[in-house]
């Protein structure tokens, strides 16, 4: 029996069990990566919850993402999927066009967005300028930096869109027919047939989106480094550009990275990651438990 389980067991312990146990262990230690860990008890957690001046900002920024980016992505992906499901011709072409950005590597996509949204030389503000609109500073403005990342997130929403499209096309036709016979209009069919039928997929997209938002890192890291104009060989200033401008893109995982890898505080970074794990778990649990009220599982008995 164990033999049959062994591939899974090995994978689980090496890539999941061991790192978690180590993270919890290191979070209770002072560990600078270079000298052996030294037991400090709950000191890291005390600093995290009471003293670290950046944790509050990072948490606020990350919550903002969960509250804005996740609903925006789900609605946008669903909207496109609904439109594609109704299209009569050229479905293949449009599906490809909307999916394509999802294939762009996040770093390249972010570089591209910082470039086209450059307030001085980028084409977007040039275009807005021709229309008589003075464009915002986008990635250089603390008010606009997060919305800019949201635009980037919406652009790359292809994966979710394809899953929604499959779910929408999978809704049994006879339900629409009987709804039509009852005189339901477009909105009523969407509200009472489509949405309940695809609700498990919406749940999936929300849970995945929330977890991704809690772990949001690559785009924020690249955008801050490039937009701050300090991505240069001067090793002593790159860490200062994390969160640029004015800590508006300092998300929790960015802070975690900063402490672990550029401040040499792996013990403290482990404490941050343990808290992130617990929060992700609790948030997911809350969503899943809460979802029983609105998710329609086919064949389930209530």
């Amino acid at each position: 029996m164990l033999l049959f389980l062994s591939p899974w067991l090995v994978g689980f312990s090496v890539f999941f069990g061991y790192p978690i146990v180590m993270a919890v262990y290191l979070s209770l230690n002072h560990y600078d990566l270079l000298s052996p860990p030294r037991w400090v008890g709950l000191a890291n957690y005390r600093y995290l919850f009471t003293l670290d001046p950046q944790v509050g900002t990072a948490v606020k920024n990350t919550l903002w993402l969960v509250a804005v980016l996740v609903p925006a992505q789900v609605l946008f992906a669903l909207g496109i999927a609904l439109m594609l499901a109704r299209a009569r011709s050229g479905v293949g072409v449009f599906r490809t066009i909307f999916y394509l950005p999802a294939l762009a590597p996040p770093v390249a996509a972010t570089l591209g967005f910082v470039y086209i949204l450059n307030p001085a030389t980028g084409p977007v503000n040039a275009l807005l300028g021709h229309l008589g609109i003075s464009g915002p500073l986008w990635f250089q403005d603390p008010v606009w930096a997060k919305p800019s990342l949201v635009i980037l997130g919406l652009w790359g929403v292809g994966n979710t869109m394809v899953i929604f499209l499959a779910a929408v096309l999978d809704v049994p036709r006879h339900l629409y027919e009987s709804a039509a016979i009852d005189g339901a209009n477009w909105w009523q069919r969407l509200r009472w047939v489509t949405l309940p039928s695809i609700s498990p997929v919406i749940l999936f997209a929300v849970v995945l989106g929330v977890i991704q938002a809690l772990q949001y890192f690559t785009q924020a890291y690249v955008a801050a480094n490039i937009a701050s104009g300090q991505a240069s060989q001067a090793a002593d200033v790159t860490a200062a550009s994390l969160g640029y401008p004015q800590d508006s893109t300092l998300f929790y995982p960015v802070l975690l990275y900063q402490h672990g890898f550029s401040d040499y505080q792996m013990g403290y970074a482990s404490a941050l990651s343990v808290v992130l794990l617990v929060v992700s778990f609790v948030v997911t649990l809350v969503i899943v438990v809460n979802s029983r009220r609105w998710v329609h599982q086919a064949g389930a008995v209530r």
Binding site: D32, L34, S35, P119, A120, D141, S232, Q233, Q246, F261
Partner: protein, 441 residues
């Protein structure tokens, strides 16, 4: 049968003898030494390799391999993995507190004692940023000092006859030199004071006001000195004169600092605070640009600070776990103390030579622009930033604070600075695992 066995045994013996001879020969041959450096830009790395090649040629017992483009993260990862190179160097003297404190870079004192190298041959500031709480784990390999670059053609056009010496002169000149487009956006900026721009970090301006980070016990004292508030309020007033948003937009249109579209090189910045290496970049990239160099202007109330500047620099040392420690030390010793080696590096990199003797070397090609920085380097009031247990996150926290202030201002800067002090103290304590501290300059 017996003969066959004997023959076989003989063959094995001969084989073994040849094998051991081969192994022995390999031991007698030159030792391979690997050197990691941060330089990556074409000419800089070439110059370092040239010095390494000279050493290689003169020392038959070693063969050198130079690897460029190395960051601190790569060095740390290699030390952690237990297979570091023999010699490491870094641009980042801020993290010396971590390297020396953890023993990741070896203590050089025993080596220096054995080779009779005294710390007195190096200027004082360089000796501070290469140690932590008395443990010396690095030596300076050339140094950086910061001063004011000004565009002479633009000065002439604005009828400015000499570089500014005080902050009020600097402010007046900056305003005079600034040109705006018809739509109000900035075309040429007299001096871009935004913290975070190119080389603009708090510690380099702090020097101009004599502002200190820590007291003799290593506690942060930004809120306790008038200098920090005076300096930050001046900077904020200049930022507001341009308009914060205008400056940010202007900066977004400038090229990367280390590229040919650097704002000073393209003439969009009439004055700029920068390091001495810019002299070499300007000569290579825009040889026709007319410019001058001068010490950074200082607080009007403290004119005797004029001539001094901020100093830090490249550091070099031996990583824990290196294999050929003695031969590696011989190389480090040569690179950091040999006047000829330092002169060649100085000529090629246009970084400041880091021993007192090499600063006077006749081998160094005279250059009026560069001479300014050697003078700043030797000024007794020049200084550097504190080496703390929390490394560069200490100065980064101050920088983040200032960046928020320059954008949003503050109702009570003094109180905010006092709060920052307690955050800095807590950070240092946390970084040391409860007993962190700082080295007093």
């Amino acid at each position: 049968m017996k003969r066959v066995v004997i023959a076989a045994a003989l063959a094995v013996a001969v084989g073994l003898a040849i094998a051991t001879a081969a192994v022995g020969a390999r031991h007698a041959g030159p030792t391979k030494l690997t050197v990691w450096v941060g330089w990556s830009a074409g000419k800089e790395l070439v110059t370092f390799k040239q010095v390494a090649a000279e050493y290689d040629k003169a020392h038959s017992d070693v063969t050198l391999t130079v690897v460029g483009g190395i960051t601190d993260q790569k060095i740390t990862a290699a030390i952690r993995a237990g297979n570091p190179p023999d010699v490491v160097s870094s641009f980042n003297s801020y993290d010396v507190g971590i390297y020396c404190g953890t023993g990741a870079w070896l203590n050089l004192k025993p080596f220096m004692d054995k080779s009779h190298i005294s710390t007195s041959i190096f200027p004082k500031a360089t000796m501070y940023y290469t140690q932590y709480n008395g443990t010396r784990c690095a030596l300076p390999l050339l140094a950086d000092t910061y001063g004011l670059y000004y565009n002479s053609a633009l000065f002439k056009k604005a009828h400015i006859t000499h570089p500014p010496r005080t902050i009020s002169e600097l402010t007046a000149d900056a305003k005079k030199l600034t040109q705006r487009n018809p739509d109000g956006s900035l075309k040429v900026v007299g001096l871009d004071p935004l913290i975070g721009f190119y080389e603009n970090v708090p510690e380099r301006w702090a020097q101009a006001y004599g502002a200190k980070y820590i007291d003799s016990k290593g506690h942060a004292i930004l809120g306790k000195q008038a200098a920090w508030q005076k300096m930050m309020k001046w900077q904020k007033s200049l930022v507001d004169w341009y308009g914060y948003k205008n400056l940010v937009k202007f900066q977004a249109g400038l090229g990367d600092e280390f590229s040919t579209s650097n704002g000073f090189e393209t003439g969009k910045l009439a004055m700029n605070m920068d390091g001495e290496w810019r002299v070499a970049f300007l000569a290579n990239e825009v040889p026709k640009l007319q410019y001058g160099t001068a010490p950074l202007p200082v607080d009007d109330a403290q004119p005797d600070l004029y001539g001094s500047g901020y100093i830090n620099g490249t550091i070099i040392g031996l990583p824990k776990g290196g294999h050929n420690v003695d031969k590696a030390w011989a190389l480090v010793n040569y690179l950091t103390t040999n006047v000829h080696a330092l002169s060649v590096l100085t000529n090629g990199l246009k970084n400041v030579p880091s021993t007192t003797a090499s600063a006077k070397s006749k081998e160094i090609v005279p250059n009026a622009h560069f001479q300014t920085f050697i003078k700043i380097f030797n000024n007794p009031r020049s200084s550097t930033s504190p080496i703390m247990a929390s490394g560069q996150s200490f100065t980064n926290l101050v920088q983040t604070f200032w960046q928020n202030y320059q954008a949003k201002g503050s109702k009570n800067l003094g109180a905010d600075l006092t709060k920052l002090d307690s955050q800095l103290d807590a950070q240092v304590k946390q970084a040391g695992g409860g007993n962190g501290g700082g080295g007093v300059p």
